[in-house]
């Protein structure tokens, strides 16, 4: 049985169903409205697993599902060495959002990473602690800032309402997902011009750790139907 994990509710689920539907694979929820069960029509040996989008990376990593649809940002942030754990099968072209760095609009002197870095240095001198960046994307943000040689900052965890942390004096800058930027503007924040950390979209991933022996025929049938090449699932090294 090939298990495919898809987001269990909301626009992400609907768009996923639409994407597969447009390619001749009908997915639908079964049972009553609150019950998290579903099925795939017209393909044998494929089981639909409805999961929270945030848990799909973990399930892929553990190999409990063979395929999964989730944001590319979540996979990169939640999985260490992500490309060794999952293979990108296809970007799905929806759920677009950018992970960006934002600072208060009143920081007229800060528009780039250069500025942020210089400001962090001065801030630490004045305040005696590192400039705080609120985010829930710890790995992605830290890797990005390390790669770009930004110093004198610290990450503070924010699992929601991240845009409010600066006004509440619990952070000086934020790193968050934005699609239109409206929430940022409403909270008097602006995006750094050269610091898009990741351009995320909903993506179909395959789990390298899953047991593929019995799922392979179903995978081949599914990929044929979707018009995609078979993913390279050979575990490296």
């Amino acid at each position: 049985m090939l298990k495919i994990g898809v987001p269990s509710k909301g626009r992400l689920m609907e768009k996923t169903f639409d994407w597969f539907g447009a390619r001749g694979v009908t997915m639908r929820r079964t049972g009553n409205e609150r019950e998290y069960s579903g099925e795939v029509e017209g393909l044998d040996g494929v089981q639909l697993v409805l999961l929270s989008a945030g848990e799909i990376p973990r399930e892929l990593s553990a190999g409990r599902i063979h395929l999964g649809v989730t944001g590319s940002d979540l996979v990169r942030d939640k999985l260490a060495d992500w490309s060794a754990q999952v293979a990108e099968v296809a970007p799905l072209g929806f759920g677009h959002a950018d992970l960006i760095l934002a600072v208060p609009v009143c920081w007229v002197d800060v528009d780039t990473l250069d500025d942020l870095d210089a400001t962090a240095s001065a801030f630490r001198r004045v305040h005696g602690f590192r400039l705080r960046i609120a985010t829930k994307y710890h790995r992605l943000v830290r890797d990005f800032l390390t790669e770009n040689g930004v110093a004198d900052y610290q990450l503070v965890d924010s699992q929601g309402a991240t845009e409010g942390t600066i006004r509440n004096l619990t952070a000086e800058a934020i790193a968050d997902i934005t699609s239109t930027g409206e929430t940022l503007r409403a909270n008097h924040l602006k995006v750094l011009e050269d610091a898009v950390i990741h351009r995320s979209q909903a993506t179909l991933f395959a789990a390298r750790a899953a047991d593929w022996t019995e799922a392979r025929p179903a995978l081949k049938a599914l990929m044929d139907r979707l018009g995609l090449p078979l993913p390279d699932l050979v575990r490296e090294g």
């Binding site: 060495d81 007229v108 390390t146 900052y153 990450l155």
Partner: protein, 362 residues
């Protein structure tokens, strides 16, 4: 799991360091996170196990001994002092490559004001001697020469400080150098801001939010305007600095080429002569210096506390992590010493890798 032979190897090294005059010291395994976080920043979260104590707040599983040993020495040690330690360190591994997350480290640290180059040579020669039965390759460098070169650059103190701050981050260092040397122009946003400042038409920004005050923002705008008027670092100076950073070769030839560079960069002379003194001290201790590979920027991307002599010993198999490493960290003692400082040099050996090489017969 720490195997018996690894522990035996560690004990052997620990005994050798004690025989060389070092006093054995202990350090806690569970360390308060604040000092390490302040020192290393976010990098430490990526590399160390940070955990939560209900009363003591964030704690870290010991990622290395240097910081607790320096802290203990600065708090109640008398110098000169030689210390050795042996124990587990813990490093998070963020890749699926098979690397140990928990392993033994044996270290040797010298706190001595009298003759720093002698102390450098003492540490290196001791390590070279202990590792001599194995097929390992030494490599040395000297971050102090690069720092001296930056301190002597013909530019403003602000720019020199910015470059020094990023000595350990090659990519940002290069980015800053390119900008200060006029090879890349300012970002369009910077040009916009300075133009608006000149015309007195700074953009409306809405309410002031956050901890960074209006006066801090004003101070930086002022600094940016000042920086915009700073003449570029002359191309010749920038390329000399780059020659220096790219310099590598057997140590004796490196000294000669550094002396040549010092004709045009007189401010590195002292640092170069310290390197020459160190090399003589190494030779006097029987180290084969003629073939000793030197790179000015060796060790530049590892821990940022080394600010002088640095060294590593690595196996012929490039897949293995370094077997031993160390260097001089005078500035770290100043940071941890609350007003005091002492010249310090030291290094660590990883006994699990020594045991592995020994078992492989190489």
């Amino acid at each position: 799991m720490i195997k018996a032979e690894i522990r035996a190897e560690a004990e052997r090294l620990f005994a050798a360091f004690q025989a060389a005059g070092a006093q054995p010291v202990e350090a806690d395994i569970l360390l308060p996170a604040d000092m390490l976080l302040d020192l290393y920043g976010e990098d430490i979260r990526a590399r160390a196990y940070v955990t939560q104590d209900p009363l003591r707040g964030e704690m870290v599983l010991r990622p290395d001994f240097t910081v607790p040993v320096v802290q203990a020495h600065m708090a109640h040690g008398a110098d000169p002092a030689r210390y050795t330690y042996m124990g587990e360190v813990f490093r998070k591994q963020d890749t699926l490559r098979p690397r140990a997350a928990e392993y033994l480290q044996v270290g040797f640290e010298v706190f001595d004001r009298t003759a720093p180059e002698e102390a450098d040579a003492e540490v290196f020669a001791l390590f070279a001697d202990l590792l001599a039965p194995l097929r390992v390759q030494p490599q040395i460098g000297d971050i102090g020469i690069l720092m001296a070169a930056v301190r002597g650059l013909e530019t403003t103190e602000t720019r020199r400080a910015a470059l020094l701050r990023h000595v350990w981050r090659p990519r940002r260092f290069r980015h800053l150098l390119d900008r200060y040397a006029g090879r890349t122009g300012p970002h369009p946003a910077r040009v916009r801001l300075l133009k608006a400042l000149e015309e007195g038409t700074l953009p409306k920004t809405g309410p002031h939010i956050g901890l960074r005050s209006a006066s801090e923002i004003a101070a930086r705008i002022h600094a940016l305007a000042e920086d915009a008027d700073t003449p570029a670092i002359p191309p010749k100076c920038a390329s000399l600095l780059e020659d220096l950073m790219a310099l590598s070769g057997p140590a004796p030839q490196a000294v000669e080429r550094l002396r040549d560079l010092a004709v045009d960069m007189p401010h590195i002379s002292d640092a170069v002569e310290r390197f020459a003194t160190r090399l003589a001290a190494l030779k006097a201790r029987g180290v084969a210096v003629d073939a000793l590979p030197f790179e000015t920027t060796h060790g530049r991307t590892t821990l940022e506390y080394y600010d002088g002599f640095v060294f590593t010993f690595h196996a012929t198999d490039p897949a293995l992590p370094v077997i031993a490493s160390g260097g001089r960290y005078d500035a770290l003692t100043r940071v941890l010493g609350q007003g005091q400082s002492i010249p310090a040099v030291g290094g660590i050996i990883r006994p699990h890798l020594v045991a592995q090489l020994r078992a492989a017969g190489c």
